[in-house]
């Protein structure tokens, strides 16, 4: 009998399914456990890819829980592209919606940091502007400045202390997270992306810049979300980490 790839695939992802008939060892016996080599290769390699991509989630859940959850996820959402660096984009949502761990509200947002770090690592290279580039522009023109973010910049807003949770599980000696909302920016000065906590209003500001708003408009929007928005601090963070690749004056005519 013929074993087509639809049949093979069903048995591949369902360990309880019978091994398709028509597959044999060298002596004509049914393939039996030999089929498990493929089942294991798929499950183990995809689980390892998730473990490598989400090390903090793996630490937070513990190895056994992580493997069990990854096993469910990979069967529900196997890669849709044969490029493993992209795998796991749906994992944060899965973690947020999966009933048994839904009460750990921050998992999805922490996973978003890890996903953003990976995207940033592979993002297009772009030369940053000098750290003092804004100093070349006359103060009265600053509100009309339009800035471009490097392709490696990512912003993750969250109602949870996600930076401190990430750092506590990554950086030796980082203090224990305290209950607070934390927005995170991922920047990549050369090749190594790193997350930083954003000051209040920083996420609104950076997101507005990314969408092409002028410096003035972006600052105004940020102040609407956070009264104590500190424009100098927000710009300093972007400039000192090479997150801006161009600064131009919008034509105000």
């Amino acid at each position: 009998m013929s074993v087509d790839q639809t049949l093979f695939r069903q048995a591949l992802l369902d360990a309880a399914a019978p091994v398709p008939t028509g597959l044999s060892d060298g002596d004509g016996n049914p393939a039996g456990a030999r089929f498990s080599v493929y089942r294991n290769n798929v499950a183990v390699s995809l689980t390892e890819a998730l473990e490598t991509g989400f090390p903090v989630i793996a630490k937070l859940l513990g190895e056994q829980n992580f493997k069990a959850i990854a096993g469910l996820f990979l069967r529900q959402s196997p890669p849709d592209v044969p490029v493993m660096m992209f795998y796991g984009a749906k994992f944060p949502d899965f973690l947020s919606e999966f009933e048994p761990i839904k009460h750990i509200g921050y998992l999805g947002d922490v996973a978003e940091i890890e996903l953003a770090l990976r995207r940033s690592y592979h993002a297009e290279d772009a030369a940053p502007v000098a750290a003092d580039a804004l100093g070349q522009i006359a103060p009265e023109h600053l509100p009309n400045v339009v800035m471009k973010l490097a392709p490696s910049v990512e912003v993750i807003p969250s109602p949870w202390p996600i930076y401190d949770i990430w750092a506590f599980n990554t950086i030796e000696g980082h203090p224990k997270p305290q209950a607070q909302a934390q927005d995170v920016i991922v920047v990549r000065a050369e090749f190594d992306p790193e997350p930083h906590p954003l000051p209040p209003g920083g996420a609104t500001f950076t997101t507005a810049i990314a969408k092409g708003a002028t410096l003035g408009d972006a600052a105004e929007r940020a102040t609407e979300t956070a009264e104590d928005f500190d424009l100098g601090a927000a710009l300093g963070l972007l400039l000192s980490h090479g997150a801006l690749t161009s600064i131009t004056l919008e034509d105000t005519a």
């Binding site: 060298g26 849709d80 690592y121």
Partner: protein, 286 residues
């Protein structure tokens, strides 16, 4: 378009190469030892930028590069993924590698990718499909590819071709070259109970542009028979080195790749495997 299999086949130096791992970047540049070329997995270099591409550009100035695809699913029942073909074309266009190779396997079905090289029945239908896909790939990337023999853990009752005849026929129809993985031959022969030397005797060695060598794991099947797993996670065992010597005595020297993808060792250990490969090549050159 038909691609000629030229006399010198691949253009890679007849020296050992290694599968490139980022943790060996500095070691390879400072102390390449007998390593004369590098192989990369195409799919690891499909990002837009960052360190992987920067390192690859740097290495390509110093070493001939072989691009080895692991995700095209040449044996897939569905059409080749046009977006993936475009990614391969882009990589090959800017990197200009010395050779490109892929696997006789499938890995994508109905839009899902399984990150493993899955087996094919050797039938007339499969030959037609694989040959069509190779024609299409060679057309898109504008060059000849080499097709690698798989590691087998089971066989399909519906197969009507031997693997060696199958590969020979595909190469004849498409003009593709062949990549002979000697460890895969050893693994398949052990698992399916035949003599690996019979396989080599039947193999069209004149079409081989590259040889692969790697480590495997040992397990057992339901009946207590040995079941070898192609893991690329250990040293190459002596019987595989012996099968290499036998193969080279029939084929003459070839570019020889050491693959070590899992539990990657420190550079001196991988470099020593490459030295052993260099010794094997010297034996047939002298």
């Amino acid at each position: 378009m038909m691609f000629d299999v030229s006399e010198n086949r691949s253009g890679l130096p007849h020296k050992p190469g290694v599968g490139y791992k980022p943790q060996h970047f500095s070691d390879i540049l400072e102390n390449p030892g007998s390593v004369g070329w590098l192989e990369i997995h195409a799919e690891n270099y499909m990002g837009m930028g960052g360190r992987p591409l920067a390192q690859l550009r740097h290495l390509a100035e110093r070493f001939p590069i072989s691009v080895h695809g692991v995700g095209l699913s040449i044996g897939g029942e569905g059409p080749l993924d046009p977006e993936h073909l475009a990614r391969l074309k882009n990589l090959v266009s800017w990197l200009k590698p010395t050779v490109f190779s892929e696997h006789l396997a499938w890995s994508t079905h109905d839009g899902s990718y399984f990150n493993d090289l899955l087996p094919l029945p050797y039938t007339n239908d499969t030959i037609t499909r694989v040959a069509d896909h190779i024609d299409q790939l060679q057309e898109v990337i504008g060059r000849q590819m080499m097709l690698e023999n798989p590691s087998s853990y089971l066989s399909f009752d519906e197969s009507t071709w031997s693997e060696t005849d199958f590969l020979c026929e595909v190469a004849k129809r498409t003009g593709c070259g062949l990549l002979l993985d000697v460890n895969n031959v050893f693994v398949s022969a052990t698992n399916l109970g035949y003599d690996p030397r019979d396989y080599i005797a039947d193999y069209p060695l004149d079409k081989v542009g590259e040889i692969h060598l790697g480590g495997h794991d040992e397990d057992e099947d339901d009946h207590g028979k040995p079941l070898l797993i192609d893991s690329h996670g250990a040293e190459i065992v002596d019987p595989v080195w012996a099968l290499l010597d036998h193969t080279l005595s029939l084929s003459g020297s070839r570019p020889l790749l050491i693959e070590w993808d899992n539990d990657v060792p420190d550079w001196p250990i991988l470099s020593a495997e490459a030295d052993r490969g260099a010794d094997a090549l010297h034996k047939v050159l002298s």
